[in-house]
């Protein structure tokens, strides 16, 4: 950003044609990022609008459409039967998110504590690039790993596991989002002022006490931001789950409790068995919809954009929340 000094030195020339051309070019480049976001929103909304009964007339679509309420609350996703209930797909995504979070959040947090508090600079110089590799391997390769190596290994422990299953997909997604948790959490821990640590040592605390009792609580907003960002990445992860998780939209078995007429599902021990079954997350359903040739623009094609919009809204909301939380910790210590 230009300082006042630069402003003064450049005001005389800034409207010369050459300067103006450069300025306009650079501005257009930056503005393109806004256009990209607008493009995403416009494409997703207009194409989804063609999908729903409520909005289709607005964009001049007649013929088969789907009800918004059915879409949001329906418990069956079956293109052939014309049932477009997104809940089983959202459930599939949740299964992956919970499973990968169970792996990535503790491991990522432990990694961040180790890198920030314990590792020598030399060790850190080797570990950090090695961790980056975890996020750099193409996700389609992770999907292949899950199918070819992880599922057979898991079938030793769980003999009734399906060939496509939520567990193997969760494991690979968990591995690939570890660096996301660890790098952002580590940044947050590095931002904790050394005075806090020294105060802890001064009170006679051990390194363990300081790490757990001082550094982690002080960096908790940064850690939370990293968790949310990693979960958002897990929601949007596509190829690994498309390959490994399966293509059977399934709702997990849950217990039901009725409270004042409202149905509230709660997880039971049965629920966990979903990890051994073939499921289908939202992104997996999108890829499956595409893998046929569906350029005709029928209802199935438009449902793609409806899922895409759901996905976009979920990840955007999580990214914004994560940004807001992260902004708080930056304010605290800077």
């Amino acid at each position: 950003m230009g300082s006042e000094f630069e402003e003064q030195l450049t005001t005389q020339t800034e409207n010369a044609p050459r300067e103006l051309l450069a300025r306009v070019f650079f501005f257009v480049c930056a503005f393109l990022s806004i256009l990209t976001t607008l493009g995403i929103i416009v494409v997703l909304i207009t194409e989804s609008a063609k999908f729903f009964t409520l909005t289709a007339p607005l964009v001049g679509i007649t013929g088969k459409t789907a009800n918004v309420v059915d879409f949001l609350t329906g418990t069956t996703w079956s293109i052939n039967e014309g049932k477009f209930g997104v809940l089983p797909l959202v459930a599939g995504t949740l299964v992956i998110v919970v499973g990968s979070a169970a792996i990535a959040l503790p491991l990522g947090l432990a990694t961040a504590i180790y890198l920030s508090e314990y590792a020598s600079p030399r060790v850190r110089a080797y570990l950090k690039p090695a961790l980056e590799i975890l996020a750099g391997v193409p996700t389609v390769i992770y999907g292949f790993f899950a199918l070819k190596y992880i599922t057979p290994a898991l079938s030793v422990f769980f003999p009734n596991i399906d060939f496509f299953n939520g567990l193997s997909a969760s494991i690979v997604v968990g591995i690939m989002i570890i660096p996301m948790v660890s790098s952002i959490s580590e940044d947050a821990m590095n931002a904790v002022p050394d005075e806090l640590r020294q105060a802890g040592y001064g009170l006679g605390a051990t390194k363990f006490d300081v790490s757990i009792g001082v550094v982690v609580p002080a960096a908790v907003s940064g850690i939370a931001a990293s968790f949310i960002l990693a979960l958002s990445r897990a929601i949007g992860e596509t190829m690994a789950v498309a390959l490994a998780a399966g293509s059977t939209p399934t709702l997990p078995a849950v217990g039901i409790v009725k409270l004042a007429g409202v149905v509230i599902p709660y997880p039971t021990t049965e629920t966990l068995s979903i990890y051994l079954q073939s499921i289908q997350p939202m992104t997996g359903a999108m890829v499956q919809l595409l893998f046929g040739d569906i350029t005709g623009g029928g209802l199935a094609y438009r449902s793609l954009f409806a899922i895409g919009l759901t996905l976009f809204v979920m990840t955007l909301a999580m990214n914004i929340i994560s940004d807001l939380i992260a902004a708080r910790y930056r304010e605290e210590y800077e």
Binding site: R18, L44, Y118, G136, M239, F312
Partner: protein, 557 residues
């Protein structure tokens, strides 16, 4: 001593159990390593499946151990003991030809299968004409800038429309490889000349070096048939592997000598007491390292042939790299996928590099601190978090549904991937630009430079290595993306894409197709691991280039 009794009563005070802390520390270490180790095990498995090292004869390993590994270790240890940076020099000297051959192979296959050299010549000339116009017109200071702009644009459009066709129908044209020698050899020679000019203060030798470069490239093309290569490949490989290696050899040989000279003069003046040959050992001895390695490889191949030892039955072989997809796993290959990936990357680089750097320059150098700038700022970081499959939907809606393009073409795929990595390019380019010290800007403004002149002459050249690193890393991400390509309608089975409107395939897409539409035990056992290894090697090469660049950049800065 009075404290003696005190100590007995307060036994244990101030003593803290270390068990918890130690256990915690090792738990953290285990947690840190678990992801890395898990991936390493998976990579080892896939490597084992793809290369099948257990199918090779023991004699094969023995021969290569004796002629390749043992000499490498011995020479490596010697270099480490003998000189300060000898092993580093050796590693770089080995890395340059290896990377050069990989890169050159990519370029060569473009000229063999995709772009006819005659058409290439046409476009080069069509670009040279407006470029020459710019150079000529810049001499006339009285012509206003707008007029110059109009003239150059008109010349550009005119020559783009007329020249390629005219060149293609010219009665006499040089042979294909001679076209490459002319169109690529001359710019490379000029680059070498400028590089030498910045490194050595010896204009005459630098000119000779540049001329020699051109002769070597032409000679490489002419001599290629002797070792069984085509003339086109020979020209390109000489340019990408031999020339950089020679350049590095010359530079490291003579900069070492110059440093030694400087040290010796200091020595005579009695300021520095360390002897010159102690301080500046000849690091360039490391240049012998690649000779040992490459010589060992050829000798090994010869001996293995002589004794008839069978090598491993790797699925990653010449046949795999040069065949198209076939329905039988043994015959399937990845050639169209590799070509598709290369073409996609060219488009992605051409689109995302200028746009990303442009946006970064605007945000760092021009943008006023207003709400609008902050919106752009927040927007870019949010775009980086949008799932790649959503970018695919953007590409599908924007280019296919609205603009009416064919689904799944090279152009649509390249543009979609370019939009996908644009935020990453912008963020890394901003960091590179921000790391240019403010003093540089102020010095430039202080000399009366305008903003554009400062950006062009000071900021971009300074930030260039950082920008390049970020762009290569982003391209590495783009080359592994599958979901956007699927969404824009890339086909399951694809041919060699020969033009921008052809339907595209890519390596990760090929892997996905094999793992789904052709999911048979045979494909899972043979073609898939091989495809995974090829994709991983390409990514590894791109990432290591970026990391080496970054390290050099950080050391210099």
């Amino acid at each position: 001593m009075a404290t003696e009794t005190d100590r007995s009563t307060t036994e244990g005070f101030g003593q803290v159990s270390r068990t918890v802390g130690t256990v915690f520390r090792y738990l953290l270490l285990v947690a840190t390593l678990s992801g890395i180790v898990a991936l390493a095990v998976l990579l080892a498995y896939v490597f084992y499946d793809a290369v099948q090292p257990d199918t090779a004869a023991p004699g094969w390993y023995l021969v290569y151990f004796l002629v390749l590994v043992l000499p490498m270790v011995v020479v490596g240890l010697y270099l480490r003991r003998r000189t300060e940076r000898g092993l580093t020099v050796g590693g770089i000297a080995l890395g340059i030809p290896v990377l050069g051959v990989l890169f050159g192979a990519g370029v060569a296959l473009l000229f063999i299968d995709i772009i006819p050299p005659v058409a290439w010549l046409g476009y080069v000339i069509a670009f040279l004409i407006p470029f020459g116009t710019i150079v000529a017109i810049e001499r006339y200071r009285s012509v206003p800038f707008i007029a110059k702009l109009v003239i150059v644009t008109a010349v550009f459009v005119g020559s783009m429309l007329a020249v390629p066709g005219a060149v293609a129908s010219a009665p006499i044209l040089p042979a294909d490889w001679l076209i490459l020698v002319l169109t690529l050899g001359v710019p490379v020679a000029v680059l070498v000349w400028r590089f030498l000019g910045r490194t050595f203060d010896a204009p005459r030798w630098n000119r000779i070096g540049a001329a020699l470069t051109f002769v070597v490239i032409a000679g490489g093309g002419a001599a290629a048939p002797i070792i069984g290569l085509g003339r086109t490949s020979g020209t390109v490989l000489t340019m990408t592997a031999v020339v950089p290696f020679c350049l590095y050899a010359v530079v490291s040989r003579y900069t070492a000598a110059i440093e030694a000279d400087t040290a010796a003069t200091v020595d005579e003046q009695g300021v520095e007491t360390v002897a010159a040959d102690e301080q500046y050992r000849p690091d360039w001895l490391g240049l012998g390292f690649p000779v040992v390695v490459i010589g060992g490889m050829f000798l090994g191949a010869f001996l293995v042939e002589l004794f008839g030892f069978a090598g491993p039955q790797s699925w990653v072989d010449w046949q795999f790299l040069t065949s198209p997809h076939r329905n039988a796993a043994e015959e399937a290959g990845v050639y169209p996928a590799i070509v598709g990936s290369i073409m996609l990357m060219i488009i992605v680089a051409l689109v995302s590099f200028p746009l990303g750097v442009g946006a970064a320059v605007y945000l760092e150098e021009y943008a006023p601190d207003t709400w609008f700038t902050r919106i752009i700022d927040v927007n870019i970081s949010n775009l980086a978090g949008v799932p790649s499959v959503v970018y695919g939907l953007l590409g599908l809606g924007l280019f296919v549904t609205y603009a009416g393009s064919q689904p799944g073409t090279v152009l649509v795929g390249g543009l979609t991937l370019a939009l996908l990595i644009l935020p990453i390019v912008i963020i890394s380019a901003r960091e590179a630009i921000r790391s240019v010290p403010d003093g540089f800007r102020q010095a430039s403004y202080g000399m009366g430079a305008t903003r554009w002149q400062t950006i062009k002459n000071v900021i971009l050249p300074e930030a260039f290595p950082g920008i390049l690193t970020g762009t290569i890393l982003a391209l590495g991400r783009a080359i592994g993306e599958t979901a956007p390509l699927l969404v824009i309608g890339a086909p399951q089975v694809f041919d060699l894409p020969t033009e921008l409107s052809a339907r595209v395939g890519a390596l990760p897409l090929q892997i996905y197709v094999w793992a789904t539409a052709f999911a048979s035990p045979d494909f899972f056992r043979k073609a898939l691991p091989a495809g995974v290894i090829v994709l991983l090697v390409i990514m590894l090469v791109m990432n290591s280039v970026a990391i080496v660049l970054r390290n050099r950049f950080e050391r210099n800065g």
